[in-house]
Protein backbone atom coordinates (compact mmCIF):
# COMPACT_ATOMS: atom_id res chain seq x y z
CA UNK A 1 0.00 0.00 0.00
CA UNK A 2 0.84 3.68 0.13
CA UNK A 3 3.68 4.79 2.40
CA UNK A 4 1.55 7.63 3.69
CA UNK A 5 2.76 8.82 7.07
CA UNK A 6 1.03 12.04 8.02
CA UNK A 7 3.06 13.71 10.79
CA UNK A 8 1.30 14.87 13.96
CA UNK A 9 0.35 18.52 13.91
CA UNK A 10 2.99 19.47 16.48
CA UNK A 11 5.66 18.41 14.02
CA UNK A 12 4.30 20.80 11.40
CA UNK A 13 4.07 23.95 13.49
CA UNK A 14 6.59 23.64 16.34
CA UNK A 15 10.17 24.68 15.75
CA UNK A 16 13.36 24.29 17.78
CA UNK A 17 14.72 27.47 19.29
CA UNK A 18 18.27 28.21 18.17
CA UNK A 19 18.93 31.70 19.40
CA UNK A 20 18.84 33.81 22.55
CA UNK A 21 15.47 34.23 24.20
CA UNK A 22 13.93 31.20 22.44
CA UNK A 23 14.43 32.61 18.95
CA UNK A 24 13.04 30.11 16.49
CA UNK A 25 11.86 30.04 12.90
CA UNK A 26 8.55 31.73 13.69
CA UNK A 27 10.17 34.57 15.64
CA UNK A 28 12.76 34.96 12.90
CA UNK A 29 10.02 35.30 10.26
CA UNK A 30 8.36 37.99 12.37
CA UNK A 31 11.64 39.89 12.73
CA UNK A 32 12.29 39.63 8.99
CA UNK A 33 8.79 40.75 8.06
CA UNK A 34 8.95 43.70 10.47
CA UNK A 35 12.28 44.72 8.94
CA UNK A 36 10.84 44.24 5.44
CA UNK A 37 7.91 46.50 6.29
CA UNK A 38 10.22 49.22 7.60
CA UNK A 39 12.68 48.84 4.71
CA UNK A 40 9.90 48.89 2.12
CA UNK A 41 8.54 52.25 3.23
CA UNK A 42 11.91 53.85 4.02
CA UNK A 43 13.40 52.90 0.65
CA UNK A 44 10.23 53.91 -1.16
CA UNK A 45 10.14 57.27 0.62
CA UNK A 46 13.79 58.09 -0.07
CA UNK A 47 13.43 57.07 -3.73
CA UNK A 48 10.10 58.77 -4.24
CA UNK A 49 11.46 62.05 -2.95
CA UNK A 50 14.07 62.16 -5.70
CA UNK A 51 11.71 61.23 -8.52
CA UNK A 52 9.14 63.47 -10.05
CA UNK A 53 7.07 60.51 -11.22
CA UNK A 54 7.45 57.54 -8.85
CA UNK A 55 8.62 54.33 -10.51
CA UNK A 56 9.53 50.90 -9.23
CA UNK A 57 9.31 50.42 -5.48
CA UNK A 58 8.09 53.97 -4.88
CA UNK A 59 5.16 53.43 -7.24
CA UNK A 60 4.28 50.16 -5.50
CA UNK A 61 4.38 51.83 -2.09
CA UNK A 62 2.33 54.75 -3.34
CA UNK A 63 -0.39 52.61 -4.86
CA UNK A 64 -0.52 50.36 -1.80
CA UNK A 65 -0.91 53.31 0.56
CA UNK A 66 -3.56 54.54 -1.85
CA UNK A 67 -5.24 51.14 -1.58
CA UNK A 68 -5.27 51.28 2.23
CA UNK A 69 -6.64 54.83 2.09
CA UNK A 70 -9.37 54.28 -0.50
CA UNK A 71 -10.40 50.69 0.14
CA UNK A 72 -10.03 50.50 3.91
CA UNK A 73 -10.22 53.92 5.55
CA UNK A 74 -12.54 55.83 3.22
CA UNK A 75 -14.99 52.89 3.17
CA UNK A 76 -15.21 52.59 6.93
CA UNK A 77 -14.19 55.79 8.71
CA UNK A 78 -14.19 58.61 6.14
CA UNK A 79 -11.68 61.44 6.11
CA UNK A 80 -11.68 61.55 9.90
CA UNK A 81 -9.83 58.23 9.95
CA UNK A 82 -6.79 59.46 8.00
CA UNK A 83 -4.94 59.77 11.32
CA UNK A 84 -4.90 55.98 11.46
CA UNK A 85 -3.43 55.54 7.96
CA UNK A 86 0.16 54.87 9.20
CA UNK A 87 -1.06 52.35 11.78
CA UNK A 88 -3.32 50.48 9.37
CA UNK A 89 -0.83 50.54 6.47
CA UNK A 90 2.03 49.14 8.56
CA UNK A 91 -0.31 46.61 10.16
CA UNK A 92 -1.48 45.49 6.72
CA UNK A 93 2.07 45.07 5.43
CA UNK A 94 3.38 43.35 8.55
CA UNK A 95 0.59 40.78 8.43
CA UNK A 96 0.91 40.36 4.68
CA UNK A 97 4.70 39.80 4.82
CA UNK A 98 4.48 37.31 7.67
CA UNK A 99 1.69 35.47 5.82
CA UNK A 100 3.38 35.40 2.43
CA UNK A 101 6.31 33.39 3.84
CA UNK A 102 3.88 30.48 3.56
CA UNK A 103 4.75 30.12 -0.10
CA UNK A 104 8.33 31.45 -0.13
CA UNK A 105 10.51 28.47 -1.08
CA UNK A 106 12.83 27.38 1.71
CA UNK A 107 10.79 29.05 4.43
CA UNK A 108 7.27 27.82 3.68
CA UNK A 109 5.76 28.64 7.00
CA UNK A 110 3.14 31.32 7.63
CA UNK A 111 4.30 32.85 10.91
CA UNK A 112 0.70 33.64 11.78
CA UNK A 113 -0.04 29.92 12.00
CA UNK A 114 1.07 30.28 15.61
CA UNK A 115 -1.49 32.24 17.58
CA UNK A 116 0.94 34.44 19.57
CA UNK A 117 1.27 37.37 17.18
CA UNK A 118 -2.40 37.40 16.08
CA UNK A 119 -3.30 37.70 19.78
CA UNK A 120 -0.86 40.57 20.27
CA UNK A 121 -2.22 42.39 17.21
CA UNK A 122 -5.84 41.78 18.24
CA UNK A 123 -5.17 43.06 21.78
CA UNK A 124 -3.47 46.10 20.23
CA UNK A 125 -6.55 46.80 18.09
CA UNK A 126 -8.81 46.20 21.11
CA UNK A 127 -6.83 48.70 23.20
CA UNK A 128 -6.81 51.28 20.41
CA UNK A 129 -10.53 51.18 19.68
CA UNK A 130 -11.43 51.27 23.36
CA UNK A 131 -9.09 54.17 24.10
CA UNK A 132 -10.36 56.03 21.01
CA UNK A 133 -13.94 55.51 22.15
CA UNK A 134 -13.21 56.56 25.72
CA UNK A 135 -11.35 59.69 24.63
CA UNK A 136 -13.57 60.79 21.74
CA UNK A 137 -16.97 60.00 23.25
CA UNK A 138 -16.24 60.07 26.97
CA UNK A 139 -16.55 56.99 29.19
CA UNK A 140 -20.27 57.32 30.00
CA UNK A 141 -21.36 57.96 26.42
CA UNK A 142 -19.08 55.24 25.05
CA UNK A 143 -20.28 52.47 27.36
CA UNK A 144 -23.88 53.64 26.95
CA UNK A 145 -23.44 53.27 23.19
CA UNK A 146 -22.05 49.76 23.59
CA UNK A 147 -24.41 48.44 26.26
CA UNK A 148 -27.64 50.23 25.32
CA UNK A 149 -27.68 50.58 21.52
CA UNK A 150 -30.38 53.09 20.55
CA UNK A 151 -33.50 52.01 18.70
CA UNK A 152 -34.09 48.84 20.71
CA UNK A 153 -37.33 48.34 22.66
CA UNK A 154 -36.77 48.82 26.41
CA UNK A 155 -37.65 45.26 27.42
CA UNK A 156 -35.17 43.81 24.94
CA UNK A 157 -32.22 45.43 26.76
CA UNK A 158 -32.43 42.48 29.15
CA UNK A 159 -31.26 40.34 26.25
CA UNK A 160 -29.28 42.82 24.15
CA UNK A 161 -27.04 44.28 26.85
CA UNK A 162 -25.24 41.04 27.84
CA UNK A 163 -24.89 40.03 24.20
CA UNK A 164 -23.43 43.39 23.21
CA UNK A 165 -21.07 43.38 26.20
CA UNK A 166 -19.70 39.95 25.33
CA UNK A 167 -19.59 40.51 21.58
CA UNK A 168 -17.86 43.90 21.75
CA UNK A 169 -15.38 43.38 24.53
CA UNK A 170 -14.67 39.64 24.33
CA UNK A 171 -15.61 38.12 20.98
CA UNK A 172 -14.14 40.94 18.86
CA UNK A 173 -10.49 40.41 19.85
CA UNK A 174 -10.99 36.63 20.03
CA UNK A 175 -12.48 36.31 16.56
CA UNK A 176 -9.98 38.79 15.14
CA UNK A 177 -7.01 36.71 16.31
CA UNK A 178 -8.56 33.29 15.68
CA UNK A 179 -9.61 34.26 12.14
CA UNK A 180 -6.08 35.15 11.10
CA UNK A 181 -4.49 32.24 12.97
CA UNK A 182 -6.90 29.54 11.82
CA UNK A 183 -6.86 30.64 8.18
CA UNK A 184 -3.09 30.50 8.02
CA UNK A 185 -2.89 27.21 9.94
CA UNK A 186 -5.50 25.65 7.68
CA UNK A 187 -3.63 26.81 4.59
CA UNK A 188 -0.35 25.44 5.91
CA UNK A 189 -1.94 22.08 6.75
CA UNK A 190 -3.57 21.82 3.31
CA UNK A 191 -0.26 22.52 1.57
CA UNK A 192 1.56 20.04 3.82
CA UNK A 193 -1.11 17.39 3.20
CA UNK A 194 -0.87 17.63 -0.56
CA UNK A 195 2.93 17.79 -0.51
CA UNK A 196 3.08 14.62 1.60
CA UNK A 197 0.48 12.94 -0.60
CA UNK A 198 2.42 13.83 -3.76
CA UNK A 199 5.65 12.49 -2.27
CA UNK A 200 3.97 9.27 -1.15
CA UNK A 201 2.36 8.73 -4.56
CA UNK A 202 5.66 9.39 -6.29
CA UNK A 203 7.50 6.67 -4.40
CA UNK A 204 4.80 4.04 -4.86
CA UNK A 205 4.67 1.87 -7.98
CA UNK A 206 1.36 1.99 -9.87
CA UNK A 207 -0.11 4.96 -8.01
CA UNK A 208 2.33 7.29 -9.77
CA UNK A 209 -0.42 7.64 -12.41
CA UNK A 210 -2.47 9.67 -9.90
CA UNK A 211 0.49 11.75 -8.77
CA UNK A 212 0.13 14.57 -11.37
CA UNK A 213 -3.37 15.38 -10.14
CA UNK A 214 -2.25 15.70 -6.56
CA UNK A 215 0.78 17.73 -7.61
CA UNK A 216 -1.23 20.06 -9.85
CA UNK A 217 -3.70 20.64 -7.05
CA UNK A 218 -0.74 21.51 -4.81
CA UNK A 219 0.45 24.08 -7.35
CA UNK A 220 -3.05 25.48 -7.62
CA UNK A 221 -3.36 25.70 -3.83
CA UNK A 222 -0.05 27.56 -3.66
CA UNK A 223 -1.57 30.25 -5.85
CA UNK A 224 -4.72 30.18 -3.77
CA UNK A 225 -2.67 30.74 -0.60
CA UNK A 226 -1.21 33.94 -2.08
CA UNK A 227 -4.78 35.19 -2.35
CA UNK A 228 -5.58 34.01 1.18
CA UNK A 229 -2.56 35.70 2.75
CA UNK A 230 -3.45 38.96 1.03
CA UNK A 231 -7.13 38.61 1.91
CA UNK A 232 -6.46 37.87 5.57
CA UNK A 233 -4.20 40.91 5.92
CA UNK A 234 -6.92 42.97 4.23
CA UNK A 235 -9.70 41.60 6.42
CA UNK A 236 -7.72 42.07 9.63
CA UNK A 237 -6.96 45.67 8.71
CA UNK A 238 -10.47 46.50 7.56
CA UNK A 239 -11.98 45.02 10.72
CA UNK A 240 -9.57 47.08 12.81
CA UNK A 241 -10.73 50.13 10.83
CA UNK A 242 -14.39 49.20 11.36
CA UNK A 243 -13.89 48.84 15.11
CA UNK A 244 -12.00 52.13 15.39
CA UNK A 245 -14.61 53.82 13.19
CA UNK A 246 -17.39 52.48 15.43
CA UNK A 247 -15.64 53.96 18.45
CA UNK A 248 -15.17 57.29 16.66
CA UNK A 249 -18.83 57.75 15.76
CA UNK A 250 -21.55 56.77 18.22
CA UNK A 251 -24.32 54.68 16.69
CA UNK A 252 -27.45 56.52 15.74
Amino acid sequence: MLALEFPPISELVEWRSFGPGGLNKVALIYVVSALLTVAFFVVAASKGRRQRVPTGIAAIAESSVDFVRNQIIMQTMGTEGMVYLPLLATMFFFIFFSNIFEIVPGVQFPANARIAMPIVLAVLVWLIFNVVGLVKQGPIHYFKGILFPPGVPKALYLLVTPIELVSTLLVRPLSLSVRLFANMLAGHLILATFAILSAALFSASISIAVMPFSFLLLVFLMGFEILVSFLQAFIFTILAAVYIGGALHPEH
Binding site: R179, A182, A186
Partner: protein
Protein backbone atom coordinates in the same frame (compact mmCIF):
# COMPACT_ATOMS: atom_id res chain seq x y z
CA UNK B 1 -23.62 -6.47 16.77
CA UNK B 2 -20.40 -7.42 15.05
CA UNK B 3 -19.18 -3.82 15.33
CA UNK B 4 -19.92 -3.79 19.04
CA UNK B 5 -18.06 -7.04 19.41
CA UNK B 6 -15.07 -5.46 17.68
CA UNK B 7 -15.28 -2.40 19.91
CA UNK B 8 -15.27 -4.56 23.03
CA UNK B 9 -12.11 -6.32 21.94
CA UNK B 10 -10.17 -3.10 21.37
CA UNK B 11 -7.61 -1.72 23.74
CA UNK B 12 -9.42 1.13 25.59
CA UNK B 13 -6.65 3.63 24.80
CA UNK B 14 -6.98 2.96 21.12
CA UNK B 15 -10.74 3.17 21.35
CA UNK B 16 -10.52 6.61 22.98
CA UNK B 17 -8.06 7.72 20.32
CA UNK B 18 -10.31 6.56 17.53
CA UNK B 19 -13.43 8.11 19.00
CA UNK B 20 -11.52 11.38 19.53
CA UNK B 21 -10.63 11.43 15.86
CA UNK B 22 -14.28 10.81 14.97
CA UNK B 23 -15.34 13.58 17.36
CA UNK B 24 -12.90 16.01 15.79
CA UNK B 25 -14.35 15.29 12.39
CA UNK B 26 -17.90 15.78 13.65
CA UNK B 27 -16.98 19.06 15.39
CA UNK B 28 -15.42 20.58 12.31
CA UNK B 29 -18.04 19.18 9.95
CA UNK B 30 -20.86 20.50 12.11
CA UNK B 31 -19.23 23.88 12.49
CA UNK B 32 -18.83 24.23 8.72
CA UNK B 33 -22.51 23.69 7.81
CA UNK B 34 -23.93 27.03 8.98
CA UNK B 35 -21.10 29.28 7.78
CA UNK B 36 -21.11 27.47 4.44
CA UNK B 37 -24.75 28.39 3.90
CA UNK B 38 -24.13 31.87 5.30
CA UNK B 39 -21.21 32.68 3.03
CA UNK B 40 -23.26 31.44 0.10
CA UNK B 41 -26.05 33.88 0.97
CA UNK B 42 -23.60 36.77 1.54
CA UNK B 43 -21.72 36.31 -1.73
CA UNK B 44 -24.84 35.53 -3.74
CA UNK B 45 -26.55 38.72 -2.62
CA UNK B 46 -23.35 40.73 -3.15
CA UNK B 47 -23.17 39.47 -6.75
CA UNK B 48 -26.81 40.37 -7.28
CA UNK B 49 -26.15 43.86 -5.95
CA UNK B 50 -23.05 44.29 -8.13
CA UNK B 51 -24.92 43.10 -11.21
CA UNK B 52 -27.77 45.52 -10.59
CA UNK B 53 -25.55 48.48 -9.79
CA UNK B 54 -22.06 47.99 -11.22
CA UNK B 55 -21.02 51.51 -10.12
CA UNK B 56 -21.44 50.54 -6.46
CA UNK B 57 -19.24 47.43 -6.85
CA UNK B 58 -16.44 48.88 -4.67
CA UNK B 59 -18.61 49.48 -1.64
CA UNK B 60 -20.41 46.17 -2.08
CA UNK B 61 -17.12 44.27 -2.33
CA UNK B 62 -15.79 45.77 0.91
CA UNK B 63 -19.03 45.04 2.74
CA UNK B 64 -19.06 41.53 1.28
CA UNK B 65 -15.60 40.79 2.67
CA UNK B 66 -16.73 42.08 6.06
CA UNK B 67 -19.79 39.85 5.97
CA UNK B 68 -17.68 36.86 4.92
CA UNK B 69 -15.22 37.54 7.73
CA UNK B 70 -17.94 37.64 10.37
CA UNK B 71 -19.63 34.51 9.04
CA UNK B 72 -16.42 32.59 8.54
CA UNK B 73 -15.33 33.18 12.15
CA UNK B 74 -17.79 30.54 13.34
CA UNK B 75 -16.34 27.88 11.05
CA UNK B 76 -12.85 28.79 12.21
CA UNK B 77 -13.85 28.46 15.85
CA UNK B 78 -14.92 24.93 15.00
CA UNK B 79 -11.63 24.32 13.20
CA UNK B 80 -9.59 25.42 16.21
CA UNK B 81 -11.86 23.56 18.61
CA UNK B 82 -11.30 20.34 16.68
CA UNK B 83 -7.59 20.60 17.48
CA UNK B 84 -8.21 21.45 21.12
CA UNK B 85 -10.31 18.30 21.67
CA UNK B 86 -8.12 15.53 23.02
CA UNK B 87 -8.92 12.09 24.28
Amino acid sequence: MYALHLLAQQDPGELVQGLTAVGRGIVYGGAAIGPGIGIGIVVGNAITAMARQPESAGVVRTTMFLGIAFTEALALFGFVLSFIISG
